[in-house]
């Protein structure tokens, strides 16, 4: 099979995996939250979420009707072949997935308000390239819900306030978001670089599994502090009260300009849909996040 066709098939498969099967780490975190939630209303919401996850798998249907904006993160081996064909293959996979899974058409021209009907359009699906050593290709699909996207926020903080200012910024963002991003959420937090760089890193941090703690112990500590602080807000599942407001927090950073302290908070809903696969140079494929046959 031609490389482009393999990429198209793999991208279709990971889109399907992502929208139907929640990653195991997120499932486990939701089960833990259900067991530990003390608010009666909060518990009913988590129960509905857990039931819904099972039903999505049983009926092979997208767990949420908002199947999101489609973003592909591609780690391309510097020696991988046919890289110029990848973008078209991913766009074709998006069209096919929209029709066959099906996905909701979520790509609208902001000027004419016309929906393309197939989840493609200018810059969409969005591609994030990274060149890595080797000859394989790792593709990750993120289908990002609009409700949680609407509360993402970037801000230029005061450098003199440092990490303390960052913590306040994150907690304020969570309180302001309230029930809107379908809590319990996953937070990606990033600082440094510039306004765009911070948001890019924050969003990418959403791809990290919840059970993977930060290798940097200082950052791991910060993640824990933010996690505890936002779960003290009492917003709870679906904003109806409870102690589970977020399932996890991932922090990333870039070095900053001396005069700037860019910060960004990216929200993901509990339906944190992501799936990855690696395509080797010989055309063999390994599915990295989902061990499920399609």
């Amino acid at each position: 099979m031609k490389k482009a066709k393999i990429v198209e098939n793999v991208a279709f498969n990971i889109l399907k995996q992502a929208v139907i099967y929640l990653p195991e780490d997120v499932k486990q975190a939701l089960k833990k939250a259900y067991a530990e939630e003390t608010s009666e209303t909060g518990k009913t919401q988590l129960k509905a979420i857990l039931d819904n996850i099972e039903l999505a798998e049983k009926y092979q249907a997208p767990m949420c009707q908002d199947t999101g904006t489609i973003i592909f993160y591609v780690k391309a081996g510097a020696k991988a072949k046919d890289l110029e064909k990848i973008e078209e293959a991913l766009t074709n996979a998006t069209r096919k997935a929209t029709k066959e899974i099906p996905l909701r058409p979520n790509s609208v021209d902001p000027f004419t308000q016309k929906n393309s009907g197939d989840n493609t359009g200018r810059y969409i699906p969005f591609l994030q390239w990274e060149i890595v050593p080797g000859d394989s290709l790792e593709v990750t699909a993120m289908t990002k819900g609009g409700g949680s996207e609407n509360v993402c926020i970037a801000g230029m903080l005061v450098p003199g306030e440092g990490i303390k200012g960052l913590k306040k910024f994150v907690v304020d963002a969570v309180i302001k978001a309230g029930a809107q991003p379908c809590p319990p959420n996953i937070l990606g937090v990033a600082i440094g670089g510039g306004a765009d760089i911070a948001m890019k890193l924050a969003k990418k941090a959403l791809l990290k599994p919840l059970n993977e703690s930060n290798k940097d112990s200082e950052i791991a500590k910060l993640e824990k502090e933010i996690f505890e602080a936002v779960n003290m807000t009492g917003i709870g599942p679906m904003g109806l009260g409870g102690k589970t407001t977020v399932l996890g927090v991932h922090v990333d950073y870039a070095f900053r300009h001396p005069a700037s302290f860019p910060a960004a908070v990216a929200f993901n809903c509990w339906a944190a849909r992501r799936a990855s696969a690696r395509i080797n140079a010989d055309g063999t494929v390994e599915y990295l996040t989902h061990k499920i046959k399609l």
Binding site: A48, P62, G147, G178, C182, M238, G239
Partner: protein, 146 residues
């Protein structure tokens, strides 16, 4: 947390029995509408044009479902709620003019809407966000798409 089971059309008297945090099951005709449908319905009202369905006593559901078509029949594949705050700019007029009794969505709504609910007799129902298959499997029949 009292539990109520209502079938549409729902009377104002029945809806006023509900208290915050009660559990409500709604059976019957539910109309999905997001911002554009709200805007269109209110434009119809202003022009004196009838809506395709009389909304009095019904439930409006903030939902943009994933649908598929089998022959001429629409099937709801996934149908969870969308964020309701987007409809805040329309909902008070919508409740006043069309007399819907239940507004279903996620994330809650603002004061303008809740004031209209108190005045005209309607409630807000929070459906679990993202629980789209629960909602889709409870849909017996898609009556029409406008």
């Amino acid at each position: 947390m009292a539990v109520y089971k209502f079938k549409t059309p729902i009377s104002e008297e029945d809806i006023r029995k509900l208290k915050v945090n009660d559990v409500l099951y709604v059976t019957g005709t539910i109309v999905t509408a997001r911002d554009q449908a709200h805007r269109r319905a209110l434009e119809y009202f202003k022009q004196g044009k009838p809506l395709p369905i009389n909304l009095e006593g019904l439930a409006v559901f903030h939902c943009g479902p994933v649908v598929s078509k089998k022959g001429e029949k629409w099937i709801a594949v996934a149908a969870g709620p969308t964020t309701s705050t987007r409809m805040d700019i329309f909902e008070d007029e919508f409740i006043k003019n069309f007399k819907v009794r239940v507004v279903i969505g996620k994330g809650g709504m603002g004061k303008k809407t809740t004031d209209a609910m108190a005045k005209y007799g309607a409630v807000y129902g929070a459906f679990t966000g993202g629980a789209a298959i629960l909602a889709a499997r409870a849909t017996k029949n898609v009556k029409s798409v406008e």
